[in-house]
Amino acid sequence: MDLRNVIGLLLLAIGLLLIIAGFTVTPRWNTDLFGLNLNLAWGIVLALTGSFFVLNSRRKR
């Protein structure tokens, strides 16, 4: 089992859930991150990080 793949898939799954939350949850005034929707912004960061791990594990295999 390649752990990078597992880490990547988990971060990707959580990132996607946060992106969905970014479109469905109404942001409160104090939950913006430098003017961004926190769920959406952090969801994209996690999804990209997860994708990097998954791709990296596939490439090295």
Binding site: L3, V6, I7, L10, L17, L18, A21, V25, N39, L46
Partner: protein, 566 residues
């Protein structure tokens, strides 16, 4: 723990369930790799350095670390970072560069087994029994904290909360053994960073950035009759115990926490050392603590800063975000992170933040259980109860020990309910057990003359000195009893932390002195039996100069952080 209530949405539950599915999936997929007790209890010594390194760090990320450090950040301010920049990081460099060649090179399967090889059976059994008790208690406290958090924050049933957590940890450790625990610890590390990093950024922004935080904490310090920098300067207010909220001066800090307690924990506690011993080579084993030390240096920004922000917000009379008070009127510092989660995270991020908290509790618990099952199986059962059995027998015993460890933790969690100061109690036990043990290791590894009798009587004397100091001292405002003074309260300390540091100093010094004296009057082991176990009699690792340089770079990084936050 009340007055903070979090409402989770369906996406929060989805994140939580996704995490549980991955955790259990890892255990399920790894079960086929287990063919013997060494695979189950030692990972077959097959773990790459980066995985062992992150697991080395995460095994320590239990309830005490995450919620406890945030609570200390709120109570004592930036001085809490000494646990990292003076304590953990130098100790991790020391164990990686100097001690790991003996642990790994001796082929010992556990820390108590190293003690048997270096000294004798009585020293091993003393350490095995005290360590097994400590792991169960520590694991039970993680479980208790998790149940308390889930029941008070989410309104879940306490019994059901701890049962659910215990069953999940049991499932993945039972199925995949140490490898499963290590893989999950790495996963938990990424979740903790992913959950807490945005929390710190958002909360820090709300208090006006670092400068805004400093200004607010200066006002809080003045309001408590300290100088303005008492919460934001790590060293500048260490000239006397009365000048800082921790109630300790620089010597007690550097010697008690920096040298004795931290080196005692990171260099001798099998819970963390086991991760490095599972590495796939000597080089990987030496680099494991060094790899862990890099993120460890930065962890104060993830776990201490939230506590400082919570204190800054609570001290502002106009703030709506405030720590709840306990029945005795003091603030409930333990709720620092939940307070910020509730205040600044929307649904979605809230699920991630809560998952990060649960991940930290579960990694702390699994770390203790895997250390317990190894010490029980190899150092107690195989050595004293049923020696000479086939390996499949010890594999079964290892699995049963996992079940027993979880059940004992479960009971310990309920026992913890009857103590309102169990965290302080646990820290005290570390001072009793780990502080003298570090003196034993220091002498055992670096002085060939140290004898088996010297080590044993040194350990016993160190533990007795810790007990005597505890019985003769009392933190300010505490009642005689579990917090000390049960012999006679002759000395008073400004805080429990200061008392713990000095208990550790007395325990270490007594063990060090008695071990030397007894060793000089008793016969040491022949040099031929000490090869690979003692520094002067062991060939130095060749072709790995990079490890020492990496260690030096990490120490320089920690020094820079000390200067920046002086």
């Amino acid at each position: 723990m009340d007055s903070i209530r979090i409402e989770l949405g369906y996406l929060d539950y989805a994140i939580l369930l996704t995490y549980f599915a991955f955790v259990l999936g890892i255990g399920y997929l790894l079960r086929k790799q287990i063919s013997g007790s060494e695979d189950y209890l030692l990972s077959g010594r097959s773990i790459p350095a980066w995985i062992a390194g992150l697991a080395f760090l995460s095994a320590n990320l239990g309830a005490q670390e995450v919620m406890g450090m945030a609570a200390s950040g709120a109570k004592y301010g930036i001085a809490t970072s000494h646990f990292y920049w003076v304590g953990a990081v130098p100790a991790m460099v020391f164990v990686g560069v100097f001690m790991m060649p003996f642990y790994y090179g001796s082929r010992a399967r556990s820390v108590p087994e190293y003690l048997k090889l270096r000294f004798d059976e009585k020293t091993r059994v003393f350490n095995a029994i005290t360590f097994a008790g400590m792991t169960v208690l520590s694991s039970g406290i993680s479980l208790y904290a998790m149940g308390l958090l889930l029941s008070s924050l989410l309104g879940w049933n306490f019994d059901l909360s701890i049962a659910l957590a215990a069953v999940i940890v049991l499932a993945y450790v039972f199925l995949g053994g140490l490898t499963s625990a290590i893989y999950n610890e790495v996963l938990q590390f990424f979740l903790i960073v992913a959950g807490f990093f945005p929390l710190v950024i958002v909360a820090l922004r709300q208090v006006g950035g670092w400068d805004g935080l400093v200004k607010r904490l200066e006002l809080a310090a003045v309001a408590k009759s300290y100088v303005p920098g008492a919460y934001t300067q790590a060293w500048a207010q260490m000239s006397s115990p009365a000048a800082n909220p921790m109630g300790i001066e620089w010597f007690g800090m550097a010697m008690g926490l920096g040298f004795v307690l931290s080196f005692g924990y990171w260099c001798t506690d099998f819970l963390v050392v086991q991760r490095a011993m599972a590495a796939d080579s000597m080089k990987a084993a030496r680099r494991t603590p060094l790899i862990a030390a890099v993120p460890k240096m930065l962890f104060p920004f993830l776990v201490i800063l939230p506590g400082m922000i919570a204190l800054a917000l609570t001290s502002d009379t106009g703030s709506l975000v405030r720590l709840p008070a306990k029945p005795d009127g003091t603030y409930n510092y333990d709720l620092s992170i939940p307070l910020l989660l509730q205040a600044y995270f929307p649904s979605g991020m809230l699920g991630l933040g809560l998952t990060a908290l649960l991940a930290s509790f579960m990694s702390g618990m699994a770390g203790n259980v895997t250390a317990f099952n190894t010490v029980w199986t190899y150092d107690i059962y195989q050595s004293y109860i049923r020696p000479g059995q086939p390996d499949t027998h010890y594999l079964r015993v290892g699995k049963l020990a996992t079940v027993f460890g979880i059940l004992a933790s479960w009971l310990a969690a309920y026992a913890a309910m009857s103590f309102n100061n169990i965290m302080d109690f646990l820290q005290l036990i570390f001072a009793f057990v780990n502080a003298p043990l570090f003196a034993t290791f220091l002498l055992g590894m670096f002085w060939a003359r140290t004898s088996a009798h010297g080590a044993f009587f040194g350990l016993v004397s160190g533990t007795a000195a810790a007990a005597a100091h505890h019985g003769l001292s009392l933190p300010a405002g505490a009642a005689v009893g579990i917090k000390g003074g049960w012999l006679q309260a002759m000395t008073s300390y400004p805080s429990e932390m200061a008392q713990n540091f000095w208990t550790a100093i007395y325990a270490w010094t007594a063990c060090f002195a008695v071990t030397i004296v007894v060793s000089l009057f008793t016969k040491p082991k022949p040099a031929a039996e000490l090869r690979g176990l003692v520094y002067s009699l062991t060939p130095k690792p060749e072709g790995d100069a990079g490890t020492a340089w990496l260690g030096a770079a990490i120490l320089a990084g920690a020094a820079v952080l000390n200067v920046i936050f002086w």
